[in-house]
Amino acid sequence: MTPNQAAPALSPCTVDYSQRTEYHEGLEAIRAAHRVLREVRFSPSLPDKGYNNRTLYVNLGTREVLEKPVTQLMKDLFVGGRGFGLWHLWHAVTPATRWNDPENEIIIAPGPVAGITQYPGSGKSLVVAISPQTDIPIDSNVGGYFGPLLKFSGFDALELQGKSDRDVILFIDGQKGIIRVEEAPLEPVDSHVLAEILTRMYAEDEADRSNISVVCTGAAAEHSLIGMLNFTWWDKRRGCIRLKQAGRGGIGTVFRDKKIRALVCRGPVVKADMNHPVDFETLAKTGIKLHKELRTLDDSQCKMRRNGTAHIVEIMDAYDLLPTHNFQFGSHPDTHKIASYVWEARCSQMTSDGCWYGCSMGCAKGADGLVLKTGPYKGHMVTVDGPEYENAAGLGSNAGVFDPDYLLELNFYCDTYGICTITYGTLAAFTMECYQRGILNKERTGGLDLTWGNAEADLEMMHQMARGEGFGLIAGQGVHKMKTIFAANGWGDAQLLQDIGMENKGLEYSQYLSKESLAQQGGYALTNKGPQHDEAWVIFMDMVNKQLPTFEDKAEALYYFPLFRTWFGLLGFCKLPWNDIAPADNGSTSEPAKIPEHVQNYLDLFTATTGMKIDRETMLLQSARVYNFQRIFNIRMGKGLRANDLPPYRSVGPVTREEYESRAERYDKQMLEEIGVDPAGKPVAEKIAITREYRMARYSKLCDAVYQRRGWTPDGVPTMARLAELGLDVLPEVVEIVQAHGG
């Protein structure tokens, strides 16, 4: 199926929501068991020009609750969102801090523009912590109502530190001005049940449910390092809670290590101008302009309103970019079974699917009416989020699962068990390749037959992870640790495990096959937090559109896009409305890949909210301060240098004979034309070795070019000159680290 072929007609999804399994029967008994451990009063406030100018600190161990001022330095250097998160985290930890130390924090910060209701994708929270997988800061950008409701209760960020000795719920009531830590001994564990109950428990009536957002995780977060956080909102039309995920890096694991069962925020009734922007009219006009673009152009562009991000499944397959069988291959004959039109038919369409008010892109699709076949909720009818592209690819093609029902079930259980779909997808694919190569077998997996596409075994591995038993416990450690465990057990060759284990800095790759895009190889491995596409998705520019022919072009893209995309996380924006819709005349602009009109929209929204006039250069400067600070934070924690930016070879080129032979014509041609070696008559092993040497040297050259463009030393350390340019030289601790590493 190529992108231009017509999709087959499928029946639209029609579901009787009343048949969905309900979970709130035990609510009163659960509520009765709550005991207030600490209650503090506060004065609710609304932001002024986007800022409340205070943050909330809660220590789960000591039950200390503090309000902290937002300083001018914080605003000037870190803006908000991820910037505030990293700033707080820096002061909370030491270089010796590990994820499960009490001083590690989870910080949730929505950013100054977050909460406006006029522009699509403006309700994001940024979550930051020291990651159990990488031992460096992780950041995650998540929808749902929690961040905006926290802001409209009166706080620009929430810092969670310390470890409770018992399961607790932190309740922030922004209507009454109450913060409570409550012992919560009887709560269900998994998100789709827990959030339903808590939404009803803390709402004073049915109408009040829209003012409640819950942050929670699930059973697998307790037994793995890959836990994520669900952020909820009440879906009035479906009459159920919906979930969006702060997925990457194991923040859910940290959450449960602190014995937080849930955070609940009850905010005020949302109205249009609660950020008290300086120029509401510009927000209104800019938002309406984008709503109109989406109405008129989305169907002919990305169809985000119909499919969400899953619209690219068959496109990735057509361009040989869809990760298949642990990133060995880029396409599969069965992709049509999980293509966008399948999800369009499975997801309810006659509704509004934004994860915050005003998101007319509405990509948070809901697949209603799934009846589960396995696990503790077998036979239940549920609504599943998505699947997003990453889930369709990671849980689907990468594991060889092409059955939409099983794929949705994998997606559902990842969500409710509180584990990252991207991470799980990549680690499951890794275990399946290990099974294929005899590194694992039934004896070593405790009976799991992890052959490609065996969705029931895949699900059982996940159920084990949730139960804290069997091979699921090992898998839940993630690819990085599995490689060490397998090699230590003598189950496989350490170099092969290193080559096929798709992780960098300890974090699993997200779902794009980067072998044929050098820029994307850097886009993944030169990231701050680990290989996640949200920092630099340049694979199409590089490989398909051929817009980055030289090292300098690639370096420029890997300078600009990570900085530009960082900015979304400082302000509380979603990236998708930037370039998953484009103005009709975008193609005729000088830089279509940057979507100049939408960049201007963002500048206008920032100025209209905060009153601070900025231009494109200032925008990049704001990002660059935080981006470089995070790089230095990584160095402080023992990573962040060139050695940590080395990718697994599977992301760079063909590791195995099968991979080489699957695209022999392509690789032989490259050898002849790019490397200057005639492949004729050479055995495959030799050709693999020649290709590898060439490609790794090319990657190293890319690093040199990128580091230079970013103002870093050849070892990847920001220079003192760059620090001075950014104004970060006013922070002595930062300077000290840079100087100690030759910056």
Partner: protein, 140 residues
Amino acid sequence: MRQLKINLPECDGGRDCGHECEEACAAKVFKLDGRSGAALHIEALADGRSAAILCDQCGDCVTVCPADALKRNKLGVVMIDKKLCVGCYMCIGFCEKEAFERNPKWLEPYKCTACGICVKACPHSALEIVDVPVPAPRII
């Protein structure tokens, strides 16, 4: 459902009447000065014909509203519940007829309620309230 309908050949596009329908709508329904505040708009075209922007109560805005603030009343007319409205203006952006309105003084948008005040005001009897079947909701 009640629906405002215009017979364009009877409408003079405001050439002689001074847009009485719009003036009446703006002043009597929405208490606004000037016809730009009306929930219908009449235009005189250069070729002598008239054009109109009217809400036909199609209900697309009901489907897209993320706050469930738009609903049909007993007469089938789409009404906005200002208490529920969050001012996102998706209803404005997604209205194909461009018939959803906004006044910079108010946070909530507004629209035609098929009240018929404009019908009474029209000196040419070009406007009428008709009763038509409620259209099936459509995917937007």
